[in-house]
């Protein structure tokens, strides 16, 4: 994945920016406040992620925000129907940058075995997705794996880069 683009970093190779990048990325990676868009069974499994045994707070990500304006990470856990799609899109749009999206479970990623008239065949038709998790529902451990991957990814970003690349190129069926 090409996250750093040359032209954006014209002034970016100075030591200061690199240092600042390290600090900011470190902070971002350990302070992923999730907004849980949990609709179905995967949402229930996300509850286990928050429960004592797995405890998402270890990663500093237990600050579940219900207002998209304060969230960094959108966790889509559960089936997204066509009826739900505009809402998901709206919530995603309302989140401020930088934002990440985890698509949790077969339904969110691809529609799962609901290959029918009502289920969106993968939320990547609506919003850009950073991480997919397979499973139905994925185990909490799998969620942590992807959270760790998102943390690593956020470490590869630069504060100079204003728009993230896949955002720029993305066009879903609800983008007019």
């Amino acid at each position: 994945m090409e996250l750093k683009k040359e032209e954006d970093l014209s002034l970016g190779d100075s030591v200061l920016v690199t240092k600042l990048d390290t600090a900011v990325n470190w902070a971002r990676s350990y302070s992923m406040w999730p907004m849980v868009f949990g609709t179905a069974c995967c949402g229930i499994e996300f509850m286990s992620v928050a429960a004592s045994k797995h405890d998402i707070s270890r990663f500093g990500a237990e600050v579940v925000r219900f207002s998209p304006r304060q969230a960094d990470l959108l966790v889509v856990a559960g089936t997204i129907s066509y009826k739900q799609a505009p809402i998901l899109k709206k919530i995603y749009d309302q989140m401020p940058e930088p934002k990440w999206v985890i698509s949790m479970g077969a339904c969110a990623c691809s529609g799962g075995f609901y290959d029918n008239y009502t289920t969106v065949q993968g939320i990547d038709q609506i919003i850009p997705v950073d991480e997919y998790i397979a499973g139905c529902p994925p185990r909490p451990e799998a969620f942590f794996d992807s959270l760790i991957r998102i943390q690593e990814k956020s470490n590869r970003e630069s504060i100079l880069e204003k728009d993230r690349q896949h955002d720029r190129d993305f066009k879903g069926f609800l983008d007019a």
Partner: protein
């Protein structure tokens, strides 16, 4: 063992039902659904039939009324003024089949979105034909008459959308509330955000392939759905499952019930602002998942049962591990109750809040803990016992006021009763096989498949064609965590069902929700919702 289906002509159906309610005590409308007989082998008459399933007040008997709908008009008289439950029931039939109920107060789509064209459960609707929805509905068409009826102008109230993406509605329920200050003067509920086409999917999968789909109905207690579905197919085919399987089903079923109630009460505590309870109540749940995972191979969506039995036998040490789960459940209930049970803040928040009267509950088709909290001791496990439930010593738990407090406490107490049942069942569990050896139903054991050509052929036949269920229609129900979970199955004799209709207990509870929260406060509406345990996978299917 087939239950009788009474066919009534479409002119008479309203009268018949009214008569049944008034004179025969059939006070509970379980479900309204329709069947599309297009391509049904040997069917010549009208294309659509509407089916009403009724239950009497003792919960011992049910009756199925079927009526063929005139092809030209596709119209029937509504019964929504007889049963409150018929309101949403008929809306669903209209949405899915396009049958019009004359006199219905608000016949509009309920599961599919408002930009949807066509009726998906008709046999000629292509299953993969998705339709994009670009924006949400404003719901004012429902709100305006309500406001008018209450004597409010539109600009006199604040219209607040609670849900779908709202912490209290868990992403799938939308309530449009008309509020005056903090109190709600009128409310409408919109669902369908998690409609995943369960019933349509059933028509393209074999009977046993449906089991994973049932996991995802009430995903808090997947096994109870597995049991409910498999039991109805087994009943339909008239097969007995081995005793051992019955006991195991009871054990894991009750374990699932405990977890379902735990989720409900934990969520309720969160909505009340008592976050610590969430963790206390959830602690044993993870232990229980571990047991289920070892037993069934998955944590949440177990797909544990098979038609005719179960997929795996108990593993070594199961009894001890379950016992430890039960013990920590008891401990966690104690902890949670010590935080709330006598706390005046909790009592003020929950007592006499969101009251459901018994009469209304019955009329609205509310069953399960929500009905029992009103004081009506109706439990399928005792009224129509299956799997030897009558031989276990347990109490039916009832409340007295039908408020949030009673619902929560009934759930806590039912968890304790379930623990009792599990302890007894574990002691009594007999040896034997876990799945019937009827080769027309169950896959042969693996060694037979690998070893004998006969077993191989059997395997081929069952996998490719599926279990053959005799032609006919059948309704069977079990007591799931939320109330009566029924499956109405129409078979055309092949390996795939012609139609499967799930009677989800919380669909009807949700239909009544907007009535219950009228004239309460916003905060009460939230806890009322949490206490009634609406599971999206179940009501949206």
């Amino acid at each position: 063992m087939h239950n009788k289906v009474y066919e009534v002509s479409h002119e008479k159906v309203r009268e018949t039902i009214l008569n049944l309610k008034e004179n025969e005590d059939f006070t509970l409308l379980l479900d309204v659904t329709a069947t599309d007989y297009l391509n049904y082998p040997g069917h010549k008459a009208e294309r659509f039939a509407v089916v009403y399933i009724l239950r009497d007040s003792t919960f011992k008997n049910e009756v199925i009324i079927k009526t063929m709908v005139d092809d030209e008009t596709l119209t029937l008289l509504t019964i929504s003024d007889i049963y409150y439950a018929a309101n949403w029931g008929e809306r669903e039939v209209f949405d899915q089949y396009g049958i019009i109920f004359e006199g219905h107060p608000n016949l509009k789509r309920v599961l599919n979105h408002h930009q949807f064209v066509g009726h998906p459960l008709r046999k000629d609707y292509v299953i993969t034909d998705g339709q994009i929805c670009t924006e949400t509905e404003d719901l004012m068409d429902e709100m305006r008459p309500l406001l008018k009826q209450k004597g409010y102008e539109e600009d006199e109230v604040m219209l607040l959308n609670v849900g779908p993406s709202h912490p209290a509605t868990h992403g799938t329920i939308r309530n449009l509330l008309a509020m005056e200050g903090e109190s709600i003067v009128a409310a409408t509920t919109e669902i369908g955000y998690l409609h995943r086409g369960f019933e349509k999917a059933c028509e393209t999968h074999t009977y046993s392939q449906i089991i994973p789909y049932t996991d995802r109905l009430n995903y808090c207690s997947a096994i109870l759905n597995n049991i409910g579905y498999c039991k109805s197919i087994e009943d339909m085919m008239d097969i007995e499952i081995p005793e051992r399987a019955k006991f195991i089903r009871v054990i894991v079923g009750e374990l699932s019930r405990i977890m379902d109630h735990a989720v409900c009460n934990a969520a309720n505590c969160v909505d009340l602002g008592g976050l610590t309870n969430f963790w206390y109540i959830f602690n044993p749940r993870d232990e229980a998942y571990e047991v289920l995972s070892k037993l069934t191979g998955a944590r949440l969506t177990n797909s544990y049962t098979r038609i005719g039995g179960l997929s795996y036998d108990l593993y070594d040490g199961f009894a001890e591990e379950v016992e430890s789960v039960l013990r920590s459940t008891e401990k966690s209930i104690d902890d949670a109750l010590s935080l709330i049970a006598r706390n005046k803040i909790f009592l003020d928040r929950t007592q006499d809040v969101g009251i459901i009267t018994e009469e209304f509950a019955i009329s609205a088709g509310i069953t399960g803990p929500n009905l029992r909290s009103t004081g009506s001791p109706r439990d399928m496990r005792q009224d129509k016992p299956y799997y030897h439930y009558d031989s276990f010593d347990f109490d039916v738990v009832v409340g007295s006021h039908g408020d949030v407090y009673d619902r929560m406490m009934v759930r806590f107490e039912e968890m304790i009763q379930s623990i009792r049942i599990i302890r007894q069942a574990i002691k009594q569990i007999p040896d034997g096989s876990i799945i019937t050896d009827n080769r027309a139903v169950a896959l042969p054991p693996k060694d037979q498949v690998y070893g004998s050509i006969e077993g191989m052929m059997n395997q081929f036949k069952l996998v490719f064609e599926g279990v053959k269920v005799p032609k006919g229609e059948y309704y069977s129900s079990t007591e799931a965590a939320n109330g009566e979970l029924g499956f109405y199955v129409v078979s055309d004799g092949s390996g795939t069902p012609h139609k499967v209709k799930c009677r989800p207990p919380c669909y009807y509870a949700l239909g009544a929700y907007s009535k219950i929260i009228e004239n309460t406060m916003l905060a009460d509406a939230v806890v009322t919702m949490a206490s009634m345990n609406f599971i999206a996978g179940e009501f949206d299917r």
